[in-house]
Amino acid sequence: MASAMSTARPTSIEVDATLRSFPLAASKDLVLDNRSGIGAMHDFSNTKGESVATIKWTSDEVLAALTELVSVLADPDKRKSLAESTDFAATLQEAGVTVEYIPERVLSGLASASEEELEFLSSSNEALVASGLSVEVPKGSLGIL
């Protein structure tokens, strides 16, 4: 885990040693939207098509937001509010999570979960954070039936 939990957006990408421990996230082909998790970036061009600026940020913000999320899920009252909410993202934001840095896949999964399922997820912090830091869901797992 990265020790830094900065909320500032650095202007250059920094794939640090932490990310290298998450193989799915260590791809260089990160052309992602702003909720994809790792290394989100936006390129800006001038009218001639020349690149003039790139805003990129690293996983620090994602990690910080996932840490906030884990803390909220640990609270039974907040879990209940989330499970009963009709606007999951807004309720999560009100509970103190920087929703813009939570990957869409994590948000939509949590929004589909009941109170009992959120309780189970609250005991799966490590898996939840690993999921939030992964760029994509693996296409094949190792399980077969």
Binding site: A127, I144, L145
Partner: protein
Amino acid sequence: MGLGQRERLQRKIALLLPSLGNAGQRLFTQPRIADLYPEYLVTLHWIVRASVPLMEAACTRAAALSKDDPVSAELVPYLSEHIPEEADHDEWLLSDLEVLGRDRSDVTARPPSPTVAAFVGAQYYWIFHFHPVALLGYIALLEGYPPTRKQIEELITRTGHSPKAFRTLLAHAEIDLRHREVLDKKLDALPLTKEQSTVLGLSAMHSIHMLTQAIDEISHRLEPPHYG
């Protein structure tokens, strides 16, 4: 319009699936993967040999509930059709293990790990003490995300073992895709209560958690003990 059961379940699975993918990556990138691959098949055998008995248990329980329970009534034909499709897959694994020099009687004599017992055993609990629909969460995970052919070919190269020791994996790379389609349709057709939808999700997420642990334990099985 609300989400269908299939979409809802897939979203929950997608929440934790990367942790299982990471466990697979850790296992398959081990320098000793040639030695570990037979142990991986042994673990799969422990799991797969319970597939048909689990589905039979769920089908029997669903049949008993079906008169007053529309979800159970839908489960009976699905499971009755699926049980023969999964028959003998444990034998396939034993045959693959024989290619690797593992005697089938030695494999079947080994006590399965507590992790696998907890992984599979949870399904018996839910089937008998809550509702047999829980088993579909387990099946959705195990059939929904089979290894890809490319992953298997890379594994063959990395281990240096004969492709004949990968027949079960190669077969599932194809047949699970068909099974997943059938299950997806069934899930969307089930009139689940909120509680039944929850146990479906819990079953799938618990299965990811336990399978991840079972995969991680494979690497530790061949490590010498460390003291002090």
